[in-house]
Symmetry: C2
């Protein structure tokens, strides 16, 4: 079957309306009519081939929510009409230690929701900027939010789980002081989630102008990272910092804010490396610099359920599909609070 | 009281025989006749003022073993004649969270065994290249090895605990594959300790010539780190790597050898930073780059007891005090298997 989509034919071409094929649902597949799809910075990097290996046509989008329109004969977890989500992956090997641990995101054979290897035409996966998608039920999530929040649920599938997973893994919660660096698509979710987990939340931003916004999102404190005295006042006081900033920056400024045994977790990968951190800052307090990538399927479901229970969604700006190129320009300028979401109904226009 | 010692009057002067003062034992002090003192690379860095802040005269030495010759009135843990050790610290604040956790090594007010602040003359601490030392009992360790092993016990007080602590903290043991990078003073202890803990031990060295030595120390496998194919064969297979190499080197070569959730722990601090690690190598498998510094007093006692129970000592070359300058030259050339230890009886000559 063919469906309408939005994507690019080359790195130097704008996104445009396309027609793509979707497979008929196999016995374990769930067919989803996509209602909304969040716009992640990774979409832009991939479409513009800023990371190696982009295949064209490229249809991005891995923050997908919608309604089940058909299920395969062996599907047990979903029925037609269910509200569901699909995040950054649509397949993995299903038998390695990572998959068995429910950490499919770390499987060497993880298949991304777009630009991943697949037997379907055209040989690589096509993402959520489309009317419909067909996904093996293992990689489909249940959405328990009320339907009127559905558009704002979409970014939870990437921005939400990418911050939720390290917060949980490194034990954010009551009695812990947690820093969130950067107040963008990921950071604004990090603040909301860390707050809901019961941690004392310190937001770090380069701009005094974002102080009020960060407080409104739930930060107990806001530190302007260009204010050396404000940083120094927070030295050795944080248990965990989730750093969402993908641009190269000084990691020592944050490492030194950690208590003994604290961890600075990077969830963004800069195109060029950060300045090398001082080994002394790691050794002196047994600190760690770590990385974390999205989250596994069970943890993504847990995150969605946590957000539904706590009334958490992303702050979004809804756009039409044909507004995606302009939205990318605004993302590059940092002009979005905090996530663009495509209304996929506009693909049909 | 005055005792003979060996130390330097300036960064550009060789070490020579000195006479220094030691305080009379206070109510909580233990007075120790030093039998042997290990020679750590930190001694050399400090004497030559390669790190900031060396105070002169400088008497190094923080791998101290000997016999108690007097105790203060309130000392309960030690008696005259006991075999004891003193490691890298002789005091700390005793009430911060780190001290209360028995991690005095991470206390902001930790006082090093040499070059630390003290009320005793000359205003900074003087270390173990001396006939005698007086230390608060909290910072004195019990030695349970047989006396004939005493010289080879000395390096456990720094090289031993510096590798033991991260191996324990990051759970080296049966079922775990542990890498040790560098086969020197620290690395040779790391191999012995990780092996005794029950881990599968992989030693990494730049030199094929060290293969047999590393196997003799207990390594199950030896990988020559200049052999790209040998490194690639170990990709994603280690749980923990303790990196003892203080010279700047490529950390990505080791990060990529870690499994998901693996940790690369640095225990050496290079004078200039390592090349910046690739963030992608951290993110892809939720890996961590961490640091660790010596170990706390309770853990140092645990390490000494573990070594006594397992018959573990350092491999040493015993030297006279007046051989220290020549020994430093050989250390700089990497010509020692694997630790020089001063016979402090030669100070009296």
């Amino acid at each position: 079957m063919t469906v309408k989509a939005y994507g690019a034919h080359a790195a130097d071409k704008p996104l445009e309306s396309l027609t793509i094929a979707r497979r008929a649902p196999g016995p374990h597949d769930v067919q989803i009519e996509i209602a909304y799809c969040g716009v992640c910075h990774s979409d832009l990097h991939t479409v513009k081939a800023e990371w190696a290996g982009t295949l064209y046509p490229c249809v991005p989008g891995h923050e997908i929510v919608g309604r089940v329109s058909a299920v395969g004969a062996h599907v047990t977890g979903f029925r037609t009409g269910d509200l569901v989500g699909v995040g950054c992956m649509v397949d993995s090997c299903r038998h390695c230690a990572d998959c068995e641990a429910g950490l499919e995101n770390y499987c060497d054979a993880m298949v991304g929701t777009y630009n991943g290897a697949t037997g379907d035409a055209p040989g690589h996966t096509l993402g959520g900027y489309a009317e419909r998608i067909v996904v093996h039920e293992r990689y489909v999530l249940r959405v328990r939010h009320p339907e009127h929040q559905l558009a704002a649920v979409a970014p939870l599938l990437c921005a939400g789980i990418t911050t939720y997973s390290p917060l949980r893994h490194w034990h954010a919660g009551p009695g812990k002081t947690v820093g969130i660096v950067g107040i963008g698509g990921l950071g604004h979710m990090g603040i909301k989630l860390a707050r809901a987990m019961g941690a004392h939340v310190v937001a770090f931003t380069t701009s005094e102008s974002k102080r009020r916004d960060a407080e409104a999102l739930g930060a107990h404190e806001v530190v302007v990272s260009r204010d050396a005295a404000a940083l120094a006042a927070r030295a050795r006081s944080l248990d965990l910092i989730v750093d969402t900033v993908a641009a190269p920056h000084d990691l020592d400024a944050y490492l030194t804010l950690l208590k003994r045994d604290g961890t600075l977790v990077l969830v963004g990968a800069p195109a060029t490396p950060h300045p090398s951190p001082q080994v002394f800052d790691l050794i002196m307090k047994r600190r760690a610099l770590a990385g974390s990538m999205i989250g596994g399927i069970p943890e993504t479901q847990e995150m969605l359920d946590f957000c539904a229970a706590h009334g958490i969604v992303a702050d979004i700006e809804l756009i039409r599909a044909d507004g995606i190129n302009a939205a990318y320009e605004r993302m590059l300028a940092g002009d979005v609070k905090y996530r663009f979401v495509i209304d996929n109904a506009t693909l049909a226009a």
